[in-house]
């Protein structure tokens, strides 16, 4: 028992060390790397933030949501409307709050629906917000797109995304090991049984939905500045949700390591492929995906983690 305890401490320290090194690397990267590498890393961290926040609801409770695109778009529009009027960091926080607030507002009726119906409902949400904004923009502005002038430098955006993704990863990690996370996982296992043993399932799902929605809002707001032109078709694009789901499935749905690995692999592989094989890279990506889903249905991280756990058990004996 004693030995196991100190070993756990050792592992925790090592984990902290690795995390610290990665963070240091990410902080220093813009000082040495080219703009191309910085922007690829920015992209990468954006997907990590999106996927890590997505698993908080969908990975932990099993409510597969296609709503991330909707919250992403809301954040982007909030930034477009407040840009140059209020400080940019303030807008990012506001975008997170707006998305979370929107999720809280629609959460109770939405989360009464289970399984495939919830998936379709959240897909509908993205379409709804998209057409809402198309119509609002035409009515109020007479046009559809918005151009954002004098946007912050690549480096400022890079560090903003870094902060958001670190918070997203830390949140997902912390929740997984918390009492809250236990409630979410119980809901995934069996919602009725969870309710019957005292878990207020509606409340926990609702909290997870709102929390999960705040991050795409923040990411969307920063990405609006990065793109400097937005319209409803591009920011309320369901592809964002699809991409997040694919990343989570590739890496593993149930923990944040999986979300990170999935986001890293997909971003880097598509980055490496699209320049070299512009016509066939989607096919190659598809084949890789099929392979992973067929042979590692729980994601890439799960078998590795299992092996590590087995190893530590054996050395424990």
């Amino acid at each position: 028992m004693e030995g196991g305890f100190t070993r756990d401490m050792g592992r925790e320290k090592r984990l902290l060390g690795v995390v610290g090194l990665i963070l240091l690397f990410l902080c220093l990267l813009p000082l040495v790397a080219s703009d191309y590498h910085v922007s690829v890393t920015l992209d990468l961290m954006m997907w990590i933030a999106l996927t890590a926040s997505w698993i908080v609801l969908s990975g932990y409770t099993g409510y597969i949501s296609l709503g991330h695109s909707a919250f992403f778009g809301l954040g982007a529009y909030l930034m477009a409307m407040t840009w140059t009027r209020i400080p940019f960091g303030f807008s990012v926080v506001l975008a997170g709050l707006l998305s979370a607030g929107f999720a809280f507002a629609i959460g109770f009726p939405f989360l009464r629906v289970r399984g495939p119906y919830f998936v379709i409902l959240t897909l509908g949400l993205t379409e709804f917000t998209k057409y809402l904004f198309i119509n609002l923009e035409i009515k109020l502005g007479g046009t559809v797109g918005r151009i954002l002038m004098m946007t912050p430098s690549l480096h400022i955006l890079y560090y903003s995304i870094l902060v958001v993704s670190v918070i997203a990863v830390a949140t997902a990690y912390y929740i997984k090991n918390s009492r809250f996370g236990t409630a979410l996982f119980s809901i995934k296992e069996d919602e009725d049984a969870a309710n019957a043993i005292g878990i207020n399932t509606s409340l926990y799902k609702w909290l997870a939905f709102g929390l999960s929605a705040s991050f795409p809002g923040m990411v969307g707001s920063i990405l609006a500045l990065r793109r400097s032109y937005i319209d409803p078709y591009t920011v309320f694009n369901p592809i964002v949700s699809f991409q997040v789901i694919v990343m989570a499935f590739v890496g593993g749905l149930e923990d944040v390591e999986g979300a990170i690995v999935g986001a890293v692999i997909l971003t880097l592989v598509s980055e490496a492929l699209w320049a070299r094989y512009p016509y066939t890279y989607m096919i190659i990506l598809g084949v890789i995906m099929v392979f992973i889903v067929r042979f590692m249905p729980l994601g890439l991280v799960f078998p590795i983690k299992q092996r590590l756990a087995k190893k530590s058990k054996e050395s424990h004996r």
């Binding site: 049984a193 019957a196 005292g198």
Partner: protein, 244 residues
Amino acid sequence: MIFLEGRHVSKNFGGLRALHQVDFTVEQGETVGLIGANGAGKTTLFNLIGGVYGPSSGCIRFKGEDITGMKPYQICRRGIGRTFQVVKPFLNMTVLRNVSVGKLFGRDRLQYTKDAEDEARGILEFVGLSGKAHIPTRELTLADRKRIEIARSLATDPELLLLDEVLAGLTPTETTEAMALIQSIQQDLGVTILMVEHVMKAVVGVCSRIFVLHYGQKIAEGSPREIAENPAVIKAYLGEKFEI
């Protein structure tokens, strides 16, 4: 004060009258059996008491408090635990974690996983699963899964336990063991039990009182012997005279 009381409880599912004007009482410390043919409304009654849905009319009181229409988690926190006819243990969690969830969110509402696991160990010992604490629930047999479900509801610290056919599908040996466990829950833990059961030997063996439901109505109530000799019950359910 009556421990558990239902008055004129009815439940309709569309045009189907699942329960009609059922009255029932359970006194503290009793073990009460609920029998009836398939479709008699036994599980519906359990779901009404457990808060899965509310009754179409009538009311249910527990320890003097009206619990009609409360949510399952609220009812759990008032001291009613339940198991499901089709067992619903958390298959991807270990046995210990299953039970500790009950400690975290049941009436104790413990805040830390470690405390919950410490307390859960005692319950595993009680139900005879302490050797399997760290095994994933998926790998256990049906009999053990039923034990886990009982342990998980015991972890919520109930005063009343609703057991929905815990003996169904068990071998004769497993049935005897499970009956001993049920008796021990009532005698050693002082938990009142209301159980739905088809295994008549068990109902007669552990219950002091029995209700009989037939097509949504209560047709008889009494000691096991009275029930076995009740002509209405014999006609409706037992089919022939049941020997005790």
